[in-house]
Symmetry: C2
Subunit: 349 residues, 2 copies
Amino acid sequence: MKKFKVLAFSFVLVIVLGLGSTGFAETIRWKMASSWPSGTQIQWAADFFAKTVNEMSGGRLVIKSYPAGKLIGALEVFDSVKMGTIDVSHCSPAYQIGKIPAAALFGYIPFGMEAIPYLTWMYEGEGLALYKEMYSKYDFGFAAPCGIIPSEDLAWSNKPIKSMEDFKGLKFRTSGYWGEILTDAGAAVIMLPAGEIYEALQRNVLDAGEFSIPSMDKTLAFHEIAKYLLVPGIHQPSTILDCIVNKKSWAKLPDDLKAVVRGAAQLTTLRMLTNSIHKDISALEFFKEKGINIIYLDPEIQKKLYAKSLALMEKKAAKDPLFAKVWKSQRAFRKGFNGYKKLMTPQYE
Amino acid sequence: MKKFKVLAFSFVLVIVLGLGSTGFAETIRWKMASSWPSGTQIQWAADFFAKTVNEMSGGRLVIKSYPAGKLIGALEVFDSVKMGTIDVSHCSPAYQIGKIPAAALFGYIPFGMEAIPYLTWMYEGEGLALYKEMYSKYDFGFAAPCGIIPSEDLAWSNKPIKSMEDFKGLKFRTSGYWGEILTDAGAAVIMLPAGEIYEALQRNVLDAGEFSIPSMDKTLAFHEIAKYLLVPGIHQPSTILDCIVNKKSWAKLPDDLKAVVRGAAQLTTLRMLTNSIHKDISALEFFKEKGINIIYLDPEIQKKLYAKSLALMEKKAAKDPLFAKVWKSQRAFRKGFNGYKKLMTPQYE
């Protein structure tokens, strides 16, 4: 009988400790909110990141991904991570431009770097250290690039844009530094949310507007109400997205889950790039089939706008020491990269 | 006393089952052998992959990375994974060209795609499905791209190469399809291992030779014995490396560790690309400082060699149905990508 009791007790112990070994791999649940509307390619990246973490952690860290407005507003994600209302955000450093002027240099700037040099500067050059320096006073647990999109469309319009003169008086939907450059070029810049651009172009409230890459613009159906598509996306040659984790949430992770989050962010960056390019190839072909008149902006005009952009960047650098430091690092890197690219790019097609 | 025994027994059980919960996370150890010499940038990628898996799995899957010759020979890795002598290999599909002619199309070919279109075709287009079809008869557990290098150097030489005539009679170290193209152009192609190129160039056994990207060529010190560096690497605009896992080894992994391996391979691909570019920028600057005469091959010569390359690819496609299928898929993708690139690439610098 005593023997039986010992066995029974042991059996209970096996059950309890058996559960304990699952408890050893306890589920941590994170809320992630993004600044992106549901159904867009940028929200695709946020969801891809969450899915990748969930799979690689074997469900030990489960990130639930919320698009803008489902949990909190699009522009509340940064502060919400700081406060701990959410554990992680998916956004772009460029969205912090109001708080931190230098943040734009880590997201996108007019005539900025294309995706691969940008990521090379971030991952292998001085980028990531400067990025961490920028966010250091916010005391986050973790912050890193988590997605990048390639070149945007420059404008959808009902008027052809072929000269500097054509920008004058143009009612143009855009934002940020590019807005300042276009204003300087004589356009009347208007900021409208993505969902209102379609109707504004249709009703001629706007003469022209830009939102994102071809595949996202296809989702917004701009081809239905605009005759002309202007390229290339000199205002946004590539855009880095990032994820930021609350300090306490991060501290609770064991080292392997930290490595999983770090890895998933880089993996999302690669796959968002290739996935966006793949969708953009199809979207451009679709626009051609729909009879959209695609205009490549005269390189001479690009050069004139580049000069305006450089002047604006120097002005920003003069006002903000961190901006100046990052801008200097990027210029030095680009000089080296451009030398490399010139030598290593074939010319046979 | 009986009570004490029960407690003692329980204590033992706690210890045993406590270890059991670590046993739940039992360490799986994999041997990985690569085809790369120790100390090279390609071995860097193999080591990076192993390190990434080790960190993200929290030591539950430990991959030990062996360079060529440490465990098995450079060219034995493919068959060794098949047989299970090693669990995983790090190599390039191009190395299987002797067994599988189409394999070259997944590694590198002359005038092949640059890194980003190549990866877009692989990850988002038809590439990965065709790659799996190619390896299907070998019945591996897992196979995927695991690293990519950007454009190689075209040649180190002691004679300037500026015309098609200059290739005639040139004793040239290279291999594979590029060797066939140069032979057709009148060169005397010689295959030598990496470690012998330096001396062969020094002793004029070779007039010219190529091995890899600028940073790897710097490691091999070709700048010490050659006056001229010819670019761009039209013979190898990018090179995909891959990892292949034995079927039984793969079957033993739980789903989360499978996701970790899958993720680490993609992450290695991104980081090898940015890491190589970063090192190559410095290497090219170093060569300039050393007084190396860097010659960019006349685009007209590039076009003539491209025509030879296209003819050779068509010849290979006519002989092998899988080669023909993959070649057709790549040509269709490149047409779409080139249309996209032409529209989306800025011209202002």
